[in-house]
Symmetry: C2
Subunit: 397 residues, 2 copies
Amino acid sequence: MIPVSERMYALGSNRSEIRELFEYGKKRIAEVGKENVFDFSLGNPSVPAPACVKETLKKLVEQTDPVLLHGYTSAQGDASVRKACADFIRSKHGAECGENDFYLTCGAAASLSISLSAIAGAGDEVIVLAPFFPEYRVFIAQAGMKCVEVKCREEDFQIDLDAFEKAVGPHTKAVIVNSPNNPSGAVFSRETIEKLASILSSAEKKNGRPVYILADEPYRELVYDEGIEVPFIPNFYNDTIVCYSFSKSLSLPGERIGYIFVSPKAAFHSEVYFAVCGAGRALGYVCAPALFQRMIPACLGKTSDISVYKVNRDLLCRELSAYGFQVGRPDGAFYLFLKAMEPDARAFCERAKAHDLLIVPSDSFGFPGYARIAYCVSTDMIRRSLPAFKALAEEYR
Amino acid sequence: MIPVSERMYALGSNRSEIRELFEYGKKRIAEVGKENVFDFSLGNPSVPAPACVKETLKKLVEQTDPVLLHGYTSAQGDASVRKACADFIRSKHGAECGENDFYLTCGAAASLSISLSAIAGAGDEVIVLAPFFPEYRVFIAQAGMKCVEVKCREEDFQIDLDAFEKAVGPHTKAVIVNSPNNPSGAVFSRETIEKLASILSSAEKKNGRPVYILADEPYRELVYDEGIEVPFIPNFYNDTIVCYSFSKSLSLPGERIGYIFVSPKAAFHSEVYFAVCGAGRALGYVCAPALFQRMIPACLGKTSDISVYKVNRDLLCRELSAYGFQVGRPDGAFYLFLKAMEPDARAFCERAKAHDLLIVPSDSFGFPGYARIAYCVSTDMIRRSLPAFKALAEEYR
């Protein structure tokens, strides 16, 4: 027996498949050179942060009293920053809200783990819509709840509403909705969200207690075509908690900055908000990084130059289809969900690895038979990788 | 019944006494003006970060590729930063260690909550030495362990080794050692640490499993007199996990940057280290803020100008003694532990509040009958506060 937590040891010694592949990539680069490894493993934005980030950071560091700049903020975040977030959400989405609906966090993972711990009760279940970000399982287990998986429709990766309705029961406490989706790239339509909301409203009445939507939205701004709407879920469903992160929109994934927005229309708003504050405290968060909190007001609504991702998506979709791969056309995020050319996606990705193509098998996303390609990489790398993809496809002829 | 976690709701709606007082102070300042409120509530450093912080931040923001600068690091932190920490600890304290003994965190609270979750087993107990930072109780409960309180000796706030030895039992998993101490300002002597180590070594043999020291060390550099040694605990006891933060030494409490150092001499080093990685993952930390990680190498071993704190300590000790207060002379940290002039410290602090003196009653620190004065404030504010302290003392004549 080991003298530490078995669960934590298992989580630490078995790294996530994505992280594992990323570490392998770094090793492989050292062996064969950067130009010969095609690492599509990690959702690490490849385009630099927008100018507002650098300018604001410089200005803050140069002009603000360091005692104030780097000092503690309130646990829920600096009040003026929270107000700026509320003003932005109000004007952008028309949702009534104020500073006391916002709690600043160390990014989306923190937003989710805090929110889940906040709402958790004994015996509660959380529904996740496969394919989903594998760490959901970890965060739900940490909060002491049960993870219930419901598969999306394979034809378009929209929510399978019949299957979803069947999965909702008396113990359902929440459903995590991630749109634009990691890893499928699907954007859940307004119609889908409306129907989801209607199913959950019925469940609330039946259960006599709230069922929350946790809207995991790090990819909100990352959509590439005219007319693609990303519905703002609090406008469709009252008991919504938005878990937002600036990691992807501002290309700041290492800085850990985001927020939790508890919709003021939620039935037990102040209970949820206080529980969020309590969970942040219990998990040791104290406050979100102060300098990056203060950067937020100048950068709200801005994004990195995401046109590169559109170029990448279009290039990959066109070429991979031509080689015979079955690939949807993702509307958002920066992931492409590729059908594996054999039933076992892990075996497929191992064969890709032999071509130094690092793509993630979909098993851990709860949707076997696919591979995730993170196309937040240089277009040049994609071009150089195409012969490898072609060779891979030819192996399956 | 509320539809959220009762525990988290309680933690969020009942703020810590310290935070509560700090928020009151902000309100009071708005009412009567900054110059009339003497806020000694919070351990928020009052001296600016040293020049290396501003210079390094500016240089990093101006000269580093933003994709690299703000990108994800490995979960345990950037390898070159961890190596710099190891090199520093090796040369400063002569402790053999390397980059794989370090795990970078979002500050001391994160270091503690991650470490506690990492080592937690069912039925385990953690000993805390009163007076202690009140959040220890929260972090220990979060990890699912039992908090066992042992009082320090009232005459010098060193560890009461007899009482400690009696408290150590078959379920003892760890003891949290915080020196220089918050709130007493005591620095545990080398002799005390040696005896503590000897008691714990016996317990390890008896129990047949490790008993960890969690060395909570945000105040390590904050000592004010020649000849005061802060023993580096891993040199005295193998099963030590150091929970360090740069918050106080570099005046960066809002930025949340620190580390966990698992001594390579710990019996189950790799199990502990992996469990730390797992706990960081489960609690949603992903990685420590990247920009501040990269700031570390240039700032190791540097501190803010702490001479101000010495001036403050000496001034307060001299004047408060003259007014009739019973006050020790703290060797380190930036807290003064004042004996309340009536048995009920909360009543005493309420009477202080009537003079706009904001000091924290010691009850939540597990050591009733005292008040904590955080003297990380301007010397000028201390001078202005002296008549209020005098008036308070006179009320008790």
